[in-house]
Symmetry: C2
Subunit: 329 residues, 2 copies
Amino acid sequence: MQAQLIALDWGTTSLRAYLLGPAGQVLKMRSLACGIMQLPNTPRLIADHWCADGFELAFDEACADWLQDNPGIAVIACGMVGSAQGWHEAAYRETPASLGALSTALQTVRSVRGVEVHIVPGVIQHSTLPNVMRGEETQVLGVLQTHPHLNDCLIGLPGSHSKWVQVQDGCLVHFDTFMTGELYAAVCEHTILGRTQQQAEQFDAAAFDRGVQVALSPDGERGPLSTLFSARTLSLTGQLSPVQQPDYVSGLLIGHELVALGNVLRRRRGGQPLPAIILIGNSQLCERYRRALGACGFADVSLAEQATEQGLWHLAQAAGLLQHTHLEA
Amino acid sequence: MQAQLIALDWGTTSLRAYLLGPAGQVLKMRSLACGIMQLPNTPRLIADHWCADGFELAFDEACADWLQDNPGIAVIACGMVGSAQGWHEAAYRETPASLGALSTALQTVRSVRGVEVHIVPGVIQHSTLPNVMRGEETQVLGVLQTHPHLNDCLIGLPGSHSKWVQVQDGCLVHFDTFMTGELYAAVCEHTILGRTQQQAEQFDAAAFDRGVQVALSPDGERGPLSTLFSARTLSLTGQLSPVQQPDYVSGLLIGHELVALGNVLRRRRGGQPLPAIILIGNSQLCERYRRALGACGFADVSLAEQATEQGLWHLAQAAGLLQHTHLEA
């Protein structure tokens, strides 16, 4: 099948490369540990140039054969690759942000092979406390394109920095960030709570649910700075075993995130019921969020797949990159 | 002046030793980096015994000359030295906890010199989520002894694990813990927020107050998991400089602690006004809390000094340790 687009999801710690065919089918996918904070650093020859640039080296490692096999193929990338620390900065675009607005704001960097890499800008929200995303905007647009009738819906992207994106009429209109994933890692690796933890072989749903219930309970009113200490005291009193502790803490933090989100949404929406939720991301993490969302009163939760590659495909199409490829093919 | 008591405040990272005279005056004080997690480990001769035990080595380093100069002097210790990882475990006593109850529950360990060290037990609260303290109970008792008419008062002990202790009729009746200090360190040292921070030469009150105000604002409703990200976005948008970030994050977290505490107290106390607050601890940290408490509606805030040594003195007195010393002197 004829390849049409190389689509890169290039974040802080990893680089995912997709080779997409007609209508955006995934022909091939590769995942490399070459995020912008851990780029390769061994210089080598690329297209007859001696090359030491980490972005060039990573790009070549991910795509050299695809580029050779598909001369003139278009390349598009989203994520931290467009940040100030990235390959080429693609300045944030403001909310409300649509497919059209972002597709006309792609920034281009020419690789040492002469291939142009089109970089998707992130999105900024100039609220009292500003908010930013890079990469998630592409995933949200992917969902909006594959579910064109979505409205009054909240798209959740759990992760190191979870995003909750309100969409309306095909636009990202508002979003909130929670540093839940990164704080979970910092708590487990760098506080006293980690000292008594033991990794379980599999997900302990009961321990996780218990953490969520604490966040929902009157004790939860004290907030995560306080309830986290219960992982220690329940352990000291023999009520929480070492292998239960990691999932209990995970449930606590995700529970606090969702309780706060629910409270904010209820206030923001007046009497309206909570919106439908679509989750995008790692399936195990989405499953945790699905459980916790149910406990927190979100009745309608579904999962979206292939959001990134679909978003990159539709952005490339809207930017006219695919037609160009087609002419050369 | 005749020394009456050696009083040890022996925590996780440090050991403070006080030589107390009549009525508990501090004759001498020493601070050693010999907490129970970083004990000395070079064996040496103590009282003709070859000794490799870290607790013995630290105790000798802190007090050998005082013990030699004051034969038969009583020794009392509080803090993590009485934990399961300490020198000798002094099991938790339950709330409500009074001077009388704790003074009859001292545990004794005999050192290689033949000196008995009396260890103060910690306190446990068997609430739905249990709560524990070790060392703070002694400080609270110190304040209660030196301010005998205190009632309906909340004693705050800011630190790695801040404690808020409700006292009534000379007893510790209820307490809450917030891991604010330890989480602040984990956030600054082990998350993306630390990467753009720069240590200021002095406390930036405006940045700190701004963080407190965010916690108090409608944005604060999302909780610290979310508002913390504003340290990054305000930085990205040029609204918060690298040197302002540490104190902004400090204000945010302390603000969230106190907003939650205020909400819980208002609910617990019905229509009654917020209680008077007495702070115990490091003076710079107490000053941060005093500022933030004022902003959060706590109108009556004062500071207590020498709480630990006063608490140890009164516990030793109640346990009859001082009379014993006196007879031998």
